[in-house]
């Protein structure tokens, strides 16, 4: 039952593709050859035409992002790959790193050519050490074969690329915090404006894209922007990797066209596990507002449709929750994450996530009080839109969506009614 369209994932079954020879054998670096003959504007145009949108979270049109970079710049320009992949429910960049590292290298060189940058870094989360090693090996191989460094393949183009390891911080996936981290500092986000395209790494104009976004670029250059755009729906070009997890029969990372109806996606994953009923869906990683089963079943999985329904396609982490899931516990676990990952810079996020985590913990442990549900909502609302960076929103939004859509479940908990999960009234979370 394969409705999968394998573009990004086309080499995932090819164990040799992670070597230069294997990559070349499967059509690798054809895009680069082509791009080397193209004008920078032409590359950007092609990417614009493809309707490629960022796969990291915000879904910003990639071609447009590249076009914001000034042509002239006193400081060097940079291309950054965001492989921090820390959004709960997301595990796709990992596969690209593991099976197709050269596609990223190729995509980054092309991005470099497009914005006239000669230096790139791949920021890989610290936990992915074995993937870091794979990436380093690939980069070294590319250098040896003249695909990186000075005068790439005799074209006159220079591009240096290095892998950079993080050391455990979700916030370093936020683009400006990532740059701080890459400059050897605490991953505290930067004040914006200026935006990275104007002043990013070391103050130079910088393009930062998600790993999947950049790895898609070679396919667009080879196949053409129009071809890619047509794979998806209007304004939402191409395919993307969906990470199916949770209560799904066959969890896994599947590549499907944008706009695919959610029921189809669920079907690809074999439906809800153990024949249970669907209860709720996280559409794009833990930061995105959740949907009830009913809402989800009417969704098309593209940026605009999901935005219209009040959430985000985010990082492609689709988490399936069955009928027995306790939503209080789910909300609590989400908040445990954000409390742990708040960088602590600004007040509402630092104190708000702590408060919500403690209150949800107490509530879930059976210590709920009259008014708690409204309190949780108000505290979340007081975080929303008032923090320094989007992490605060990322904590507040899913919480608000759960409180709204599953309010009754919270009230039932409060009343001591047995929870659907059967653990109401006693702590079920193995919190430390």
């Amino acid at each position: 039952m394969s409705q999968e369209v394998k573009i990004i994932s086309k080499r995932f079954d090819d164990p040799k593709a992670a070597t230069l020879d294997g990559y070349l054998a499967s059509g690798g670096f054809q895009a680069l050859e082509k791009a080397l003959t193209m004008a920078p504007e032409a590359i950007i145009d092609e990417v614009k035409k493809s309707n490629l949108r960022g796969r990291g979270g915000a879904g910003f049109p990639t071609g447009m992002k590249w076009s914001f970079v000034p042509k002239q710049s006193e400081r060097p320009k940079y291309v950054l790959c965001n492989a921090d992949e820390s959004e709960p429910g997301t595990c796709k960049d990992r596969l690209i790193l593991q099976y197709d590292p050269f596609s990223l290298i190729e995509g980054m060189i092309i991005a470099g050519k497009a914005i006239d940058s000669h230096q790139g870094y791949v920021f890989i989360r610290g936990e992915y050490r074995y993937l870091f090693d794979i990436m380093e090996r690939a980069i070294n191989e590319a250098y040896r074969a003249g695909y990186l460094g000075k005068n790439i393949r005799g074209s006159g183009l220079d591009f240096d690329l290095y892998a950079h390891s993080g050391a455990g911080a979700y916030e370093c996936g936020e683009e400006s915090a990532l740059m701080e981290s890459l400059e050897g500092k605490r991953g505290i986000p930067r004040l914006k404006p200026p935006f990275p395209a104007i002043s990013g790494l070391y103050g130079g104009p910088t393009v930062i894209n998600n790993m999947e976004t950049l790895a898609t670029v070679p396919h667009i250059i080879v196949g053409g922007g129009e071809w890619y755009a047509n794979l998806g729906v209007p304004k939402n070009g191409g395919t993307r990797l969906f990470c199916l997890s949770g209560h799904v029969a066959r969890p896994g990372v599947y590549e499907l066209p944008l706009g695919v109806p959610f029921p189809r996606l669920l079907e690809v994953g074999g439906g809800v596990a153990n024949g249970k009923k669907l209860k709720a869906v996280v559409p794009g990683g833990s930061s995105t507002p959740m949907f009830t089963a009913e809402e989800a079943m009417g969704l098309n999985m593209d940026y605009d449709s999901i935005a219209k329904a009040g959430s985000f396609l985010g990082s492609g982490g689709v988490v399936i929750l069955d009928e027995n899931t306790c939503m209080v516990k789910f909300a609590l676990r989400i908040m445990q994450f954000y409390r742990h990952e708040s960088c602590g810079w600004c007040v509402p996020c630092r104190e708000g996530t702590n408060w919500l985590h403690l209150a949800l913990g107490r509530f879930h442990a059976g210590g709920g009080r009259e008014g708690d549900v409204d309190l949780l909502r108000e505290v979340s609302e007081n975080i929303l839109g008032r923090t320094f960076c989007p992490l605060g929103d990322a904590a507040a939004m899913p919480t608000l969506s759960i409180l709204k859509r599953f309010r009754q479940e919270f009230l039932d908990h409060l009343a001591g009614k047995p929870c659907s999960c059967g653990v109401s009234g006693r702590p079920a979370l193995a919190t430390h």
Partner: protein, 766 residues
């Protein structure tokens, strides 16, 4: 800044506002008295947008915006008074309070806490937070600095003021999220300048000072804006007084010439006033031993003896102080010249002010011409600064702060010519390293046309290796090139402020001014002297050859002026200087030595023996080396216990205001007046304002607005005149080379300074 900045129009709460382009919205609002609360915003420090207190509505923006980071743009429409904004403020406070201990009743900041004030104004009546709060023990980081994490609201002001402001970078942020915490530079303690800036800037009671902790509540003190009695910069320190005792020093209203700034001495070293060794009673030598006595007996003893010596036409010597007030200095030299009939008067010189006055003699302070003297705050906006000698970070902390501020806010180009690795090199645009003592030669080079750099400046290994941890370029060629480049760059500057230390004296001062004259624009000068009223002592005529206002004793006209003013005659011959007096005493050629607030034996210990040959009267707070040799010791009040005026090293005159009181001691002024009275030469009442009136009318450059001074502001004195004829005595200039933690004799009596130094030694030896 441009002379005519473009103005931008915005609307705030329906009201039209105009402010210069580039203004932050928060500042624009405040300038129009529209309140925008803030915690993390602090003028002059980098922007944080962390506390989220200043959120406002801006039209066409989807979310609330932080007024502390938004720069106004033409036509911007802002609301600070909507329901949404009020809710945001309330919730910011509520969030902050979730982990705040609310131990206000025992908190040092209670009563002057920004969080308390904001909670009162913008917060909710009660907290909805019922979860357990995070607790952590309070930590002592240094003798001065204590930290209480639960009270901290993480506004990062302390981190920034220590780093960006002090250039010390001793504070940082550890951990993250709700566990984030301010941390000191040495894992569990601080190694720093102990300035207390972090404590002062902390909006809450998270950082508190050892000296003040749990001493009192703010409302139990009265506050007196005094002038610091330590270095020559003249910072305002607001003294917190309870029962006539100084409990605290800080600069709460930021109204002094120092604005935000105070160093460890200005803030904490006031405790010398309560040192148990302080003299409470006059002492008179009986049978070779100093014995306590009454004031009337002591004063009569002195007056009678002086009278007898005078009648016998014996020799007198008078040594004045660099910490006493202008009025006292002025009366002291009057006492010497008019009552004792001698020009044998001097003080411990640490800068060559007469040489500067001589060099600038051609430039009178005629109205309309730009003054060739700079005040302290003009450094903050200078285009370029040339610093020759000295180590302002240690010896002129305020001026160093101002120079750093200029560098930070205006990219001021600082040229440093020094034989030491001074800390300001970090802000230097160009630094020329010269061998110690090479200042004069270097200035000659700067002022000369020759391309070749004299060999004495390029001596290999010249600079003292102890002062130069990272060895400076020692290749003569390099040094020469460095100096050439230094001169070439400097010559392109205009409106330069030239700041020079005690290394530059006599002829070198005149050469420096000659060089300054070749620079375009208005070159201005600051001569650096060590103590709180070093400049005042010079201006008031504590010189054997100079009358007040640098008017030569040898000048008959000048003499006549003061003779007429004071009645009686002034000896026409210049007198003995300080070492000459000590030598004369030893040679039995001086019958009496009157030392008012000086401790010459600290620098001239071998003169102790000789002093015993004369009748020595010492006015001091402590039994110093010199006082131990005295026949009569008169205990005095310190600067913080008197009214009058002080002149800082730049020439800024400020009013000193009485804060504390000390039972048993008298002011130097009172003593001088009583002695004059007893000697039948009455000076009238010891009223500072009357004396200052005389100074205003008779000392060049001191015709300053009293109203301004009494209102707590400073005025720049410019005692320039055409007739300075001073003899160069460069060897008389002996700087103290104080560090941040020493202050001549006085510093030894501050328990706080001592404990800081002990602690540093301990940590270093570890």
């Amino acid at each position: 800044m441009a002379d005519n900045p473009t103005l931008v129009n915005i609307t705030v709460n329906g009201q039209q506002l105009t402010a210069p382009a580039g203004t932050l919205l928060l500042e624009a609002c405040r300038s129009a008295h529209v309140e925008v609360p803030s915690f993390c915003y602090y003028p002059g420090l980098s922007l944080q947008a962390a506390c989220r207190m200043c959120l406002v509505e801006i039209e066409k923006m989807p979310k609330l915006q932080t007024a502390c980071t938004v720069v106004i743009t033409e036509g911007m429409v802002v609301r600070t008074d909507t329901e949404q904004v009020h809710r945001a403020r309330k919730s910011a406070i509520e969030f902050i309070l979730t982990n705040h201990p609310l131990d206000c009743p025992v908190c040092d900041a209670g009563g002057e806490c920004e969080l308390q004030d904001m909670t009162f104004k913008y917060g909710a009546a009660e907290s909805r937070f019922t979860e357990p709060k995070r607790h952590r023990e309070e930590q002592q980081w240094s003798p001065i600095v204590y930290f209480d994490r639960p009270r901290c609201i993480l506004c990062y002001r302390c981190v920034r003021v220590c780093g960006e402001g002090m250039d010390v970078w001793a504070l940082g942020v550890g951990n993250r999220g709700v566990a984030a915490s301010i941390i000191p530079n040495h894992s569990d303690h601080l190694q720093c300048e102990e300035c207390g800036m972090c404590i002062d800037i902390c909006p809450v009671g998270a950082l508190t000072s050892g000296p003040y902790r749990y001493k009192t509540r703010p409302w139990e003190m009265k506050h007196v804006g005094a002038i610091c009695t330590f270095c020559g910069d003249g910072c305002k320190t607001t003294l917190g007084i309870r029962n006539d005792q100084i409990i605290r020093g800080d600069n709460r209203d930021k109204s002094g010439i120092n604005g935000d700034f105070l160093c460890v001495k200005g803030r904490y070293a006031f405790d010398f006033t309560q040192n148990p060794e302080r003299l409470k009673q006059p002492l008179v030598r009986v049978d070779g031993e100093l014995r306590p006595t009454t004031w009337s007996f002591a004063l009569e003893t002195v007056a009678k003896r002086f009278q007898r010596i005078k009648s016998a036409q014996g020799g007198f010597g008078v040594i004045g102080s660099t910490r006493t007030l202008n009025e006292e200095d002025y009366q002291l030299q009057k006492f010497a010249r008019r009552v004792l009939g001698t020009n044998n008067i001097d003080h411990h010189r640490t800068a060559d002010f007469p040489a500067l006055a001589t060099a600038l003699a051609a430039r009178t302070n005629t109205p309309g011409t730009a003054l060739p003297l700079a005040n302290s705050s003009s450094l903050k906006t200078a285009k370029a600064i040339l610093l020759v000698g000295n180590d302002p970070t240690n010896q002129h902390p305020l001026l160093a702060w101002n120079i750093r501020t200029a560098y930070r806010n205006h990219k001021t180009r600082l040229y440093v010519l020094n034989s030491g690795d001074i800390k300001l090199r970090r802000q230097a645009f160009r630094m020329a390293v010269i061998p110690a003592g090479g200042e004069a030669a270097a200035i000659r080079f700067l002022n000369g046309e020759a391309d070749s750099v004299p060999a004495e400046l390029t001596m290999v290994g010249g600079p003292d290796p102890k002062r130069w941890p990272q060895t400076p370029p020692s290749v003569p060629q390099k040094i020469a090139e460095g100096l050439q480049d230094f001169r070439a760059r400097l010559r392109q500057e205009q409106d330069v402020i030239i700041v020079f230390g005690a290394e530059v004296r006599g002829e070198a001062v005149r050469e420096l001014v000659a060089f300054g004259d070749t620079l375009p624009g208005n070159t201005r000068y600051i001569a650096l002297a060590d103590n709180a009223n070093s400049r005042g002592a010079a201006d008031m005529g504590l010189y054997p050859d100079l009358l007040p206002g640098y008017r030569p004793v040898a000048d008959a006209g000048a003499r006549a002026h003061f003779e007429q003013l004071w009645g009686g005659t002034i000896p026409a011959e210049p007198g003995l200087n300080l070492p000459q007096m000590l030598a004369a005493a030893a040679a039995g050629k001086l019958d009496a030595l009157y030392i008012a607030g000086a401790n010459p034996l600290r620098l001239h210990p071998s003169a102790a023996e000789g002093l015993r040959k004369a009748f020595v009267v010492v006015q001091d707070m402590f039994l110093t080396e010199t006082a131990r040799q005295a026949d009569v010791v008169l205990p005095v009040l310190c600067s913080y216990e008197k009214n009058g005026t002080l002149t800082n090293t730049c020439g800024e005159v400020q009013a000193q205001k009485r804060g504390g009181m000390f039972e048993g001691a008298k002011s130097d002024l009172a003593i001088i007046h009583e002695l004059a009275e007893l000697m039948g030469c009455g000076f009238g009442p010891a009223a500072e304002d009357k004396i200052f009136g005389e100074i205003r009318a008779n000392v060049k450059g001191y015709d300053l607005s009293l109203v301004q001074l009494l209102a707590g502001r400073s005025a720049l004195a410019a005692p320039l005149n055409e007739t300075v004829a001073h003899r160069d005595d460069p060897e008389l200039i002996q700087p103290n080379n104080d560090t941040l933690f020493t202050a001549g004799t006085l510093g030894r009596y501050s328990t706080t300074l001592n404990s800081v130094m002990e602690r540093r030694l301990q940590k270093e030896s570890k």
